[in-house]
Symmetry: C2
Subunit: 422 residues, 2 copies
Amino acid sequence: MTTELSADALNGLLERARKDYQDLAGRGLSLNLTRGKPAPEQLDLSEELLSLPAGRHTAADGTDVRNYGGLEGLLELREIFAGVLQVPVGQLLAAGNSSLELMHDSLVHALLSVLPGAESRWVEQERIAFLCPIPGYDRHFALCERFGIEMIPVPMTAEGPDMAVVERLVAEDPAVKGIWCVPKYSNPDGVCYSDETVARLAAMNTAAPDFRIFWDNAYAAHHLTDEPVEIADLLAACADAGNPDRAFVFGSTSKITAAGAGVAFFGSSPANVKWLLANNAKRSIGPDKVNQLRHAMFLRDADGVRTHMERQRALLGPKFEAVARILEAELGGTGLARWTDPKGGYFVTLEVPDGCAKEVVRRAAEAGIVLTPAGATHPYGDDPRDATIRIAPSYPGLEELEQAIEGLAVCVRLVGYEQQAG
Amino acid sequence: MTTELSADALNGLLERARKDYQDLAGRGLSLNLTRGKPAPEQLDLSEELLSLPAGRHTAADGTDVRNYGGLEGLLELREIFAGVLQVPVGQLLAAGNSSLELMHDSLVHALLSVLPGAESRWVEQERIAFLCPIPGYDRHFALCERFGIEMIPVPMTAEGPDMAVVERLVAEDPAVKGIWCVPKYSNPDGVCYSDETVARLAAMNTAAPDFRIFWDNAYAAHHLTDEPVEIADLLAACADAGNPDRAFVFGSTSKITAAGAGVAFFGSSPANVKWLLANNAKRSIGPDKVNQLRHAMFLRDADGVRTHMERQRALLGPKFEAVARILEAELGGTGLARWTDPKGGYFVTLEVPDGCAKEVVRRAAEAGIVLTPAGATHPYGDDPRDATIRIAPSYPGLEELEQAIEGLAVCVRLVGYEQQAG
């Protein structure tokens, strides 16, 4: 990314960046770009949820949703999301309010019960490792750390994880039991897995007989353009390749309806679903079916989800456009930064010169702009190049967001030119 | 319980029982007394919940309940239940829809993380055992089985578990890491722990430094008489005895508002709460705060809970009275049965002659009356005396319940007299 500059030119640019930073710091900002939270206006789109299911308390099949039971979740809601998540309705469970919980619990159950195809419980094995395409989602990495699961970074490409690396690692090391994937509009770099990537993930030879793909399809319906991206159907590809039990599919309505008061989903092969249900049956007498009915009534059907997500896009789109516009205006041609232009999802990844990310985040914080910690996109919080910054544009208002991105650009110029000046 | 009968008298009674059973079987009943589920009329009492929080989406402190965050749960709801569950509000968490989940997850975290006071994770230990007062709750036992935790039965007395036995077992065996307790209106025998039992549980010497009391206060507010039972405050007793981290307190609104769409609670010492929150922080970005706000608005305060539970009692009381009345009329003086007369909770325990419980349940099922499997009240489903039957009167309508208890009494006479006749 570097451009050759004369010493004079560099000094001038550094001088201007220092002055701009001084101005920025003097403005007493208090802005937050840390997390992918929906903005209040987005949550307002689901206002109707707050007074549903009103007088109704039976599901389509006559089940009283106010009482115990129904571990697999309400059929009418699973029918709405089967297509969205590319899981046959009979293999899709509707659960609690968080897909992260389902990922956590899937790990717990794999550690403490024998997975279909496994030789023993994971907790009995010397070493367990997961592949972590980077940059990635810090909460996935936190789960691995919490359970002592070793993380092996794998570079991302424009088509998903570098499959040559993935195929080599899973073939040679039986301790590699899983891979984290956010296959559509990935967190944080907005990558959509190509059909070839999906096919190779489904078909690759793994040394571990109980290898699992943790397919966190968090942004399945979260498009930002007129051309919604479709990814290949992983569950079907796994079944076709003779590896039917390889994929765990996760999703939720957290960024569709309400964040924390939505419904999460788990989809997999019949054997895996049976295994999860058997474990869940010990843990729970059933999910909150009232909330599931509420969601089914509000969203109605797959078309209802699409229409609702268009309203979300109308609110989110201008924010992503503002980020792209300001970064281009402030950093375009400087050679100091590259950034993603995602077609969906919740994040923009900003790449700064090696060794600059932490310092940019520190300077921004000092000027009142809080960013996700540099390194959070990498296992153990360690970005070896110290170059990746995750921008979460959804929560702030448009004007605040513009101020924050302008300020961030100032910090990138300051730190970048300081580095070049030595 | 046996009474000496002449051979003739016995033959006459057996004859009549056989005829009554034939009549019963001929009626084609289909009745279910298996589980402690609220009846639809009980759920109707919370109808208002189904259209709350209506237009409101902020908590008392201004938190937007529709967004992520707030792991400890909504303060205003914790304030309502702090007194009910005898936990200081700062040590009480409001969580998801199920206290069983919280018990499961507490075991998981103890297995996979180091508990305050523990030397290692439970999963690293050769053997883990829990004391199980019997009769007890089958779902507690199922959790132990699922995690390979050995269950050691302890007899119940009218004041709670036999504390002499408990004290001996926990003092001599460091593998004994916990005890299951339903301290008020216990499942299934309706026992309320005496103050002395609570004090001894709090103060006893345990060989395990990380011993925990799993205090499942499921029926804290579920009274059936004009004199609500108050039990001693276990958390305070543990703190006073110098064992502040000994108790995990669980509760929920499952049998207050809606079963499966309510809110569950966890209370403990500051150190345990911090430990649970740290583990939960990896698992979740927060509970369903909309449902918590909904509950806080509906129940209002501790008085609101009391008033609501009086309405529940008005529906449940007549069912428990019917059970007592019919059992007395049909089995009183026969020497074939004893039964509990609980002052609250959800169950009646029927004790039949040794060796008869399974056969009574089998005969009842053949006549269309489904009961909780005999043995379910004991670890591994094994009641060594084969004498305990749990009756759950809440769900059926009054008339159905009466038919079912009358039929059950017929089966007790049939099986009991058959046994006496040899």
